[in-house]
Amino acid sequence: MDSQSKIDKTSDDKNKDKRQGHHVMIFGASSGIALEFARPFAAKKAHFTLVARDEDKLKDISADLYTRGARDVSIVAYSLDSLEGSYEATRAIIKQTDAPDTALIAQGILGDNEELLHSPKKMEQMLQINVMSPVGIMMALEESMVVRGKGTIAVFSSVAGDRGRASNFAYGSSKALITAFTSGMRARLTKSGVNVLTIKPGMVATAMTDHLPRSPLMANPKAVANDIIKAITKHEAVVYTPSFWRFIMFIISHLPEGIFRRLKF
């Protein structure tokens, strides 16, 4: 783990009691959906390890989760933007806090497709955050969770990953990698007792979509978080949330190429 990262010392081992119960580990913990995801676990007295790059945000989230009943919250300020860095950081975190019962990988940026296509730097950064870092984290989680033989690794993909569209295929293809990677890892871990959940939200009202109008099609992050928790409880493989997206994406995925190509969206 490099110098930027540090584990909050309030959660040292002598307080073993605090580390009992369900352990939820969230990467990209400052995501709007991730916060709503964490709250019901806090009410059930889970303990948390939260990783994100901004320490002020982590402190505010941690206050919210404590207030709602969290047994313990450790925060790790670390910028999730490389494969090896994220892999090493995750291993170091697990060494200190133990492997999670539920892990959520939530970091991601949308980016502007046009801008990304004209800036190799921005394109690379988007891929680091959306692809490289989640892959590194999954590699590290797999090692430790398989040993324990239980738990869930839930990872954000997106409906945008189901088919590359002209207007956002840069972001979409980053999520397509997540879809394929989680699908394969799920198959690989079938017998281990560890489930891998692929999360495919449609549009959700969070900071990521602040620039878009809050239309009725845009889901509320709390509802999306509830769908994810339900899917984890039921050991599902892929969750579309809100669920109508499964139907829409089925149609979009099956449109003949000739028609699809002419659609401007």
Binding site: G32, L35, D54, D60, A63, D64, Y66, A207, D210
Partner: protein, 437 residues
């Protein structure tokens, strides 16, 4: 699409930004023009709107910060809604000390208008229960304000119409409750003198009192109504009972010009008033939502008035000006414009720490009007004259039409308050009432 207030007044912002984190407002210099916070837009007029500036949307800044289950003190971010606050507090045996007639308001909005509820005679305004707030000024200062620290800014911010800076978080003292039910009573009152009588008798023994007045009735029926009073019940299992009270919600997805709330309320009133079962008084156990927030059951009910929107008139007539109160009801009844039902409530003498706070001892009347343009403003100005003669004032949270003179005469402290207004902050309301006509 510009942001609308609850009365469907359109804002003219150049830009709007969601504030998700307390740190999002550390630097306000790169926002376009002047700024103003916007909560859940439950203010009727233009106090939550800005022209040619940036509107800062606060409702997603809604995290809890701390709760002490021993004392009932809660700290939260300013965009937390009362709805979310109650979902947290009620199962733990606590309730908000002061609540408006809708739970879809943010704490920041509640503070900025120093809101009052049905228990003003007992608890004053929300400002009486705020122990501390965190205020972000446009010069980058983040101040902790209370009665002991930055006292002047604290007083200016309570009821400060969002103009003293951005409220990031606050701490408030909740009240303990035992039950998820309200013991409510409804009493028919034949006229205003009957109302005064019941009100006087209810004062000591009831936490919540309010009255519906039939604003169409004239002559011998003038001022008849239904007096509602209640207390938090005792006993039972609050957690279980509250879980059973899942509110229903119907929403009005589009403007429905032919269907008016008036007709709905007339029906409700008539049912209650003429119902034979309901002799003189009726006692019931009520859940929180129907007792405090009956209108929240119909989401977006403001659209019932169509796109012209609605105006609400809310004023105070000081306690010794009963004749003026009667005249106010007379003028409303004769105009035939008002909604069928008005709300009448006596404010007690608990002073708020807020410099610009609306409530003073006396009677507050509020009722909705469909916005019909010139005719509405003529009527409102006629009502204003009665209120001004009585030495009363209007509620900025509801106002869209008062003149600068009316505002400045009834809130003479506004010039002192202006010293605490943050130079970057501005609202359409503030511009309207401080620009000489």
């Amino acid at each position: 699409m510009p942001t609308e207030s609850w009365g469907r007044i359109k804002g003219q912002e150049r830009d709007s930004k969601f504030i998700h984190w307390r740190s999002d407002a550390n630097d306000m210099s790169h926002w376009k023009g002047p700024v103003l916070a916007h909560g859940l837009g439950r203010s009727y007029g233009d106090s939550c709107l800005i022209k040619d500036g940036t509107l800062l949307k606060m409702s997603e800044l809604n995290k809890l910060r701390h709760f002490d289950p021993e004392t009932g003190r809660l700290s939260c971010e300013a965009g937390l809604s009362i709805a979310d606050l109650l979902t947290f507090a009620i199962p733990r045996g606590w309730f908000i000390p002061v609540t408006p007639g809708t739970k879809f308001v943010t704490m920041g909005g509640a503070i900025a208008n120093d809101i009052h509820g049905k228990n003003h005679h007992r608890r004053g305004t929300i400002g009486n229960h705020i122990t501390e707030l965190e205020l972000m000024r446009s010069n980058g200062e983040r101040l902790r304000c209370s009665l002991t620290e930055e006292e002047a800014l604290f007083r200016a911010t309570i009821g400060g119409l969002g103009l003293t800076g951005l409220i990031l978080s606050c701490t408030l003292q909740l009240i303990p409750i035992e039950s998820a039910w309200i013991d409510a009573e409804m009493i028919k009152t034949k006229g205003l003198s009957d109302f005064f009588e019941v009100d006087r008798k209810s004062d000591k023994d009831f936490e919540y009192t309010v009255s519906w007045i039939d604003c169409m009735a004239q002559g011998e029926h003038g001022g008849r109504g239904i007096f509602i009073r209640g207390n938090h019940a005792v006993g039972g299992n609050i957690k279980k009972d509250y879980a059973k009270q899942k509110g229903f919600k119907v929403s009005v997805p589009f403007d429905a010009p032919g269907f008016t709330l008036n007709k709905l309320s007339i029906k409700a009133f008539n049912t209650a008033y003429y119902n034979k079962q309901f002799a003189q008084m009726k006692a019931t156990k009520q859940a929180f939502d129907p007792f405090f927030y009956p209108l929240d059951a119909v989401g977006n009910w403001n659209r019932i008035y169509g796109s012209a929107g609605l105006l609400q008139y809310q004023c105070i007539i000081p306690k010794d000006r009963i004749e003026d109160l009667k005249q106010l009801f007379d003028v409303i009844a004769k105009s035939g414009q008002g909604s069928f039902l008005g709300v009448l409530k006596r404010f007690g003498n608990i002073a708020s720490p807020g410099m610009m706070s609306f409530p003073v001892e006396g009677y507050t009347v509020s009722l909705d009007f469909k916005n019909i343009g010139k005719k509405s403003s003529e009527l409102f100005h006629e009502l204003d004259r009665i209120v001004m003669r009585a030495g009363g004032r209007l509620y900025p949270a509801k106002d869209y039409l008062m003149s600068p003179e009316t505002f400045q005469l009834s809130y003479p402290q506004w010039t002192e308050f202006a010293r605490y207004v943050d130079p970057l902050f501005e609202s359409m309301f503030w511009k309207r009432v401080t620009t000489r006509g």
